[in-house]
């Protein structure tokens, strides 16, 4: 039915477009001068039909499911839902949905079978109604558009205004996305703080989210103190930066100041490949190669290296960030005015002295901005740590230990058995809120530093 609705929408659009174009051509054929080209009469009609009808179809599809579910639940005998909370109601609904698909488990209650049949009927009725609604709307709009075709009708400005509206909407999608992110995080975090006090979350030193989802499960009482998780994130980030900053910086200096143009042309794209490798690949690399190598190294030197040490995840993340840092440093070095470099060299400085004494200090704000963005990347990086770091939160800064990170906890809390009203699930959104706030602050700070520095030389 949905496909039919979309097909009808397309048909009506094309039809209206052709009809109006033809009508405009006919007017011109009779010798009148058209204000707009016949094509614009067609485009106007097509847009006038397509946009509102498409909005109608999308809204309908969005609302259809919940409305039908509510009707089905309302039609159940009162006894079937008595004493059920939201989760229980969802289960009843899920059973009805399965029955409607023809999947039977055991012997369903007669009222459930009846509800399933009603669900099927309602769905069919809704589909038919949607088709009728589309037909009615499209036909009305097509007639409206057809009635407007006259020699002096300003079809082009009208059509262009609709197109401009669509483009404004497209630009608004980015804003809507941000609003969506903030709204979903704020709403779910608010629900979390209704269950767990925010002081416990921000200042607690124990993170043990493995609480019971159902009453009959055996599990801990739960603790949602974010400090050890955040500390783990900092440990991994610190290791990553310890690798990425020197390597990326020296690589950038070499490429910018010492490499021949041909060497630079060849080496830079190879370095960029490191940035294009998907993070899940880095994660696998960490567990396949780096972690075992570190373990062997630990056995050799007698150090106690945990199997999923923060070092493995951090080193691999550092490798991932090398091209990031080097490209920022490269840009910053290239932006230093030529006069500074030439001045240093003219005074007798070697190239190395020009770099360390003049260029790097002058480029420092840009480099710092890049490093801050890399920190934000490292804090938000997910797959490497999900695969290579640990799950247990510990208050430790030893990178040889196993630590957990904010992103690991978000994924591990939300993958698998989840219920939408459990503090376990909601805690993931609180962590997400924290992550969003931290990375946003870092980005804004980094961009501010970079921008300020640019102004200084322009």
């Amino acid at each position: 039915m949905t496909t039919a609705a979309f097909a009808l929408l397309l048909l009506a659009t094309v039809g209206a477009c052709l009809v109006n174009r033809r009508a405009a051509l006919a007017i011109r054929g009779r010798g009148a001068r058209l204000h707009s080209l016949a094509g614009f009469h067609g485009a106007y009609a097509g847009l006038l039909v397509a946009v509102p009808t498409a909005v109608l179809v999308l809204l309908w599809l969005l609302l259809e499911g919940p409305v039908i579910d509510r009707l089905v639940l309302a039609g159940l005998p009162g006894a079937a839902l008595a004493g059920l909370d939201a989760g229980g109601r969802d289960l009843v609904l899920a059973e009805i949905h399965q029955l409607a698909l023809g999947h039977r488990f055991g012997t369903p209650a007669p009222h459930a079978l009846e509800a399933a049949a009603r669900l099927v009927r309602l769905r069919e009725a809704a589909g038919l109604l949607l088709l009728l609604a589309v037909l009615a709307t499209a036909a009305t709009l097509a007639f409206l558009a057809r009635a407007r075709v006259r020699a002096d009708f300003r079809a082009r400005p009208r059509a262009e205004r609709i197109i401009a509206g669509l483009m404004v909407f497209a630009s608004a999608v980015a804003v809507l996305t941000t609003l969506g992110i903030v709204a979903s995080l704020v709403v779910e975090t608010g629900r979390f703080f209704a269950l767990v006090p925010w002081t416990d979350f921000l200042f607690g030193t124990r993170w043990e989210p493995q609480i019971a989802i159902r009453a009959d499960q055996i599990a801990g009482a739960g603790a949602f103190g974010v400090l050890p998780v955040f500390l783990g994130t900092l440990v991994v980030t610190a290791v990553a930066l310890a690798v990425a900053v020197p390597v990326g910086l020296f690589a950038a200096i070499y490429l910018a100041e010492f490499a021949s143009p041909a060497g630079r042309r060849r080496m830079k794209p190879v370095l960029e490949i490191l940035a294009g490798v998907p993070t899940v690949v880095y994660g696998f690399f960490a567990i396949l190669t780096v972690a075992p190598a570190l373990r062997d190294l630990g056995a050799l030197t007698g150090l106690a290296v945990a199997p999923n040490t923060a070092l493995a995840a951090g080193i691999v993340m550092g490798v991932m960030l090398v091209p990031f840092i080097s490209s920022f440093a490269d840009d910053a070095l290239a932006a230093v005015p030529r006069a500074l470099r030439d001045g240093a060299l003219a005074l007798g400085a070697t190239r190395a002295e020009a770099v360390t004494g003049v260029l790097v200090p002058a480029a420092l704000p840009g480099i710092m901005g890049g490093i801050l963005l890399a920190v934000s990347r490292a804090v938000g990086e997910t797959m490497i740590v999900v695969m290579a770091a640990g799950l247990i939160a510990r208050m430790t800064v030893n990178p040889l230990d196993s630590v957990t990170t904010v992103t690991v906890q978000i994924v591990s809390l939300l993958v698998g058995d989840t219920a939408f009203d459990s503090p376990k699930t909601l805690a993931a959104f609180a962590l997400g809120m924290l992550l969003f706030a931290v990375t946003l602050a870092l980005n804004v700070l980094a961009l501010a530093i970079v921008r300020r520095y640019r102004e200084a030389y322009d």
Binding site: M167, A174, T177, L249, F285, M383, L414
Partner: protein, 428 residues
């Protein structure tokens, strides 16, 4: 710097202290140069190690050890009316008994483990597809189980003490007899790309993941391409320099730096929770990826539009075109190569994105390729994650092979983008 003492005329240029200082300064220069080379070398070495270990460990999965097995679809064991539920293990046990006559029942059971635990299903699917096979003998090429696959590839050390090995000396002896009889072969393994996922590494393939990723990218492209271009054209060509346009611009820049897992949270809360769209479906994944790709496309499109010289617009306007006609008929076609390059790079990035897909449940165990964008599915990167998490040794090779497939797609997409840029980009 050491300006003042260089300026002293009393210091002879060839004197020992000056030479020592020059040497020191030269050494500092060499040191920095070496540090730079070392840093680049380290980065390249890491990249080489990454690629080589993946090739090394993934190569095995492109071939699959198989045993030519003669099976008898025994009518005494199978009921003609209910072929889907027959006792195919018993049929395989007979076939295994024919390899090693005179084995005890326990030994035969042990020997039966040579074949993949999924082999009975291969037998079943074969006869369900062709019921006329009942009562006939057929030679099927059946995959062997993981330990024996490792044994053939030399990954399971014969020299390690039996206590640390998954196969006993008897197992290995039986396997060697089977190899000597010429029944074992290791043909290329098309199943890696053509079969859906399975719990048994020797049967697992990427068909579902490839289809899932294709639906994902299609959804992502259809949503992000028009919206991204529309937004970029508005911001670049039409938006009056007002607060609103500034807000949108800052927004886009920040959106580009939001961690991907946060987009997953958005998808989970809004698309699954509030809108009630189906979990694990490529459509929802594609919507999330589209939102992530949008900033990339917008930024690339704006750059491409900016690169078209104003004279083009002015000429069109001078000839009486409206502003939209000038943009859509003249500027946009000229900017298209740049836009497409940016879009392909954005899609390549989306293809490798994993974290947001985990949160919307695209890491479910799904046997069978999705038939549409609303069916439950996995994607290439999430399949890699699932396999990397699986304890069976055989999945290690599969994971590496899947990564190689993913990297191959990325290389092709990036190559296409570079080709487009080199072939069609115009310098004005």
């Amino acid at each position: 710097m050491a300006g003042p003492d260089i300026a002293l005329p009393a210091t002879p240029w060839a004197s020992a202290p000056v030479r020592a200082r020059l040497r020191r300064r030269g050494r500092a220069e060499t040191r920095l140069r070496l540090l730079g080379l070392g840093a680049l070398g380290l980065a390249f070495a890491m990249l080489a190690t990454l690629v080589l270990t993946l090739l090394w460990s993934g190569a095995g999965a492109f071939r699959q050890t198989r045993v030519a097995t003669e099976v008898f679809y025994d009518p005494a064991i199978l009921a003609p009316g209910n072929l889907a539920r027959g006792d195919y293990r018993a049929i395989l046990a007979v076939a295994v008994g024919e390899w090693f006559p005179g084995l005890s029942p326990a030994g035969r059971r042990r020997a039966g483990a040579i074949l993949s635990a999924g082999a009975p299903f291969v037998l079943r699917d074969r006869i369900v597809a062709d019921p006329a096979l009942l009562g006939r003998r057929v030679t099927l090429s059946l995959p062997v189980s993981d330990p024996y696959d490792q044994l053939r590839r030399g990954l399971l050390g014969r020299d390690t003490p039996a206590a640390f090995r998954r196969l006993t000396d008897d197992d290995i002896a039986r396997w060697d007899r089977l190899v000597a009889s010429g029944l074992v072969s290791a043909p290329l393994n098309p199943g890696l790309l053509l079969d859906p996922d399975s719990r048994f590494p020797e049967l697992a393939g990427l068909a579902g993941a490839l289809a899932g990723s294709a639906w994902l990218l299609l959804t992502c492209f259809l949503l992000s391409f028009p919206v991204g271009i529309g937004a970029a054209i508005y911001l670049e060509e039409f938006a009056p320099r007002r607060r609103l346009a500034d807000v949108i611009e800052i927004n886009i820049n920040n959106l580009a730096a939001v961690p991907s897992v946060v987009f997953g949270l958005l998808g989970l809360a809004v698309f699954l929770g509030w809108f009630g769209l189906p979990r694990s479906s490529p459509f929802v994944g594609g919507m999330v990826l589209a939102l992530m790709t949008l900033p990339t496309i917008i930024i690339a499109t704006r750059a491409a539009l900016k690169a078209v010289p104003p004279s083009i617009r002015e000429a069109a306007l001078g000839l009486g075109a409206s502003r939209q006609q000038a943009v859509f008929h003249h500027v946009l076609p000229l900017a298209m190569p740049g836009i497409l390059t940016g879009t392909i790079l954005g899609l390549a990035h989306a293809l490798g994105e994993t974290a947001p897909l985990l949160l919307i449940g695209m890491n479910a165990f799904v046997t069978g390729a999705p038939g549409g964008p609303f069916d439950a599915a996995t994607a290439l990167p999430t399949q890699i994650f699932i396999w990397a998490d699986s304890p069976e040794r055989g999945f290690e090779a599969r994971t590496s092979a899947a990564i190689l497939v993913l990297l191959a797609f990325l290389v092709v997409m990036n190559g296409l983008a570079i080709f487009l840029r080199n072939r069609f980009e115009r310098k004005w």
